[in-house]
Amino acid sequence: MDNLSYRSRLMSLLTTREDVYALEEKLENLYTLIGKVNTTLEPKIKDILDYNTFNAFLEDFKNLRLQPNNQTDLENYIDFIKKKIEKINYLKLTLAITPSKELIDEIFYWINKNIGQDVVLDLTVDKRLIAGSIIEYGGRFKNYSIQAKLDAFWAKNPNLI
């Protein structure tokens, strides 16, 4: 389980920071199964995870040749995913509107295609932006909002107000 370069199917489901928080909560719940459950683990895991997550989990176990009912494998897998989470690069995006699921998917698709697959969106909504976005990534910051353009316009033309 030291191969962190393995592209986890479970990790690929993470689109936003909220998804990361939800997954971390699920991992904590999975931890509670270790050492307490004597019967087969898989049904209990299925109860904790939602459908897509569970399928991704099974796919990862299959690819990594792990046994879902083996408590040691489960523990190692949870640690592996936690390490992957620690290495996530967040792209902070401030928008003027609350984005729809479709828009988030589209943005995420663009990010995967243009930046890389280990990037997760950290979305914030600020209506003062009017439209456009503010992008923060790797310590860099850029304001591409209409508000910024408008501010620049007012600053250039103070006599209009």
């Binding site: 995006l93 928008l95 828009l103 990010i111 976005s133 990534y137 591409y144 508000q147 408008l150």
Partner: protein
């Protein structure tokens, strides 16, 4: 080639021909699909351009609306601002009047107080001077009486002495007369003549002496009277001078109070100006906020979800172009 071979080859050839035909048809279909796709692309491009044109037109209209709204708001806010300025001016006027009334009241009180203090001081001083003058005059009167008494005593003493001299002369004359009785007639006549001369001379001397005494007495009385008058005049002069000084001090005090009031008035005016300017700035800032908010609201409404989506993707593209995502 046997018949069997032919029979085996023929289906294969037929199959091959069929396969080639299908391939040809497939390629043709692909070409057609590509062409249709191209048409479809063209169609959507055209549609997108039309929509973009509509968006631009709509944005232009919104901008015009915004301008119109801004003008309307400007006019309204202008009214509000004028009303505020009017109110401020009224407030300022009332405030100034009230302040001025208070200042004048204070001024009058202070002047009254100064006058009252001065008058009290002056009255007390006058009393002191009058008392001192009366005392002095009394003392001088006593001195005058004493001088008169002394002079009278001197005159009396002199008179007594004169009488004694006269008496002695008479006794001497009497003795001489007795002596003369024993003398000759010629001697007697000369003695009588001499005696008459002595007698006249004594009388003249006494008269002269008395006149001088009287003159001395008069001189002393005049001198003392004049001194008394001088004392009175001096006291009056002192009082007058003190009055002048007090009046001058009163005027100077009034001037100082005037200056104080002017300064206070100026300070009140400055305070009001500062307050007025601060209020006007607040109004202006409020107006600016209103205009900016309206502009923002108008702009906000002019973007539909697709515009938002396009601008977000565009910003990502720009960020990529500006190497924001480069490690």
């Amino acid at each position: 080639m046997s018949l069997i071979d032919l029979m085996l080859i023929l289906p294969i050839v037929t199959l091959l021909i069929g396969f080639v035909s299908m391939l040809f048809l497939y390629l043709k279909l692909l070409k057609r699909l590509d062409s249709e796709d191209h048409e479809l692309k063209k169609h959507y491009l055209k549609k997108a351009r039309t929509e973009a044109g509509a968006i631009v037109e709509e944005a232009g209209q919104e901008a015009l609306n915004m301008l119109s709204a801004s003008r309307t708001v400007s006019a309204k806010d202008q009214e509000v601002m004028e009303s505020v300025v009017k109110q401020l001016t009224q407030d300022q006027s009332a405030y100034l009047k009230q302040g001025a009334a208070q200042i004048m009241q204070e001024f009058n009180n202070q002047v009254q107080q100064i006058r009252s203090n001065n008058m009290q001081a002056l009255t007390e001083l006058s009393k002191e001077i009058t008392a001192a003058s009366a005392n002095q005059a009394n003392e001088y009167s006593k001195a005058l009486e004493q001088v008169k008494a002394t002079t009278d005593k001197i005159v009396l003493d002199l008179n007594t002495q004169l009488e004694q001299i006269k008496k002695a002369n008479l006794q001497a004359l009497d003795m001489m007369s007795k002596t003369m009785n024993n003398a000759s007639g010629e001697q007697t006549a000369e003695y009588n003549k001499a005696l008459e001369q002595i007698k006249d001379s004594n009388e003249n001397m006494i008269t002269e002496f008395r006149t001088q005494l009287q003159q001395l007495r008069n001189y002393n009385i005049n001198t003392l009277t004049n001194v008394s008058k001088d004392i009175k005049t001096d006291a009056q002069t002192q009082v007058e001078e003190y009055k002048k000084v007090m009046e001058q001090q009163t005027v100077e005090s009034e001037k100082a109070v005037d200056k104080k009031i002017d300064d206070a008035y100026k300070a009140v005016e400055d305070e009001i100006d500062t307050y007025k300017n601060a209020q006007l700035k607040k109004v202006e800032a409020g107006l600016n906020d209103v205009l900016v908010r309206i502009a923002n609201e108008v702009l906000e409404k002019s973007f539909n979800p697709n515009d938002h989506r396009d601008l977000i993707i565009q910003s990502l593209e720009k960020a990529k172009h500006e190497d924001i995502f480069t490690n």
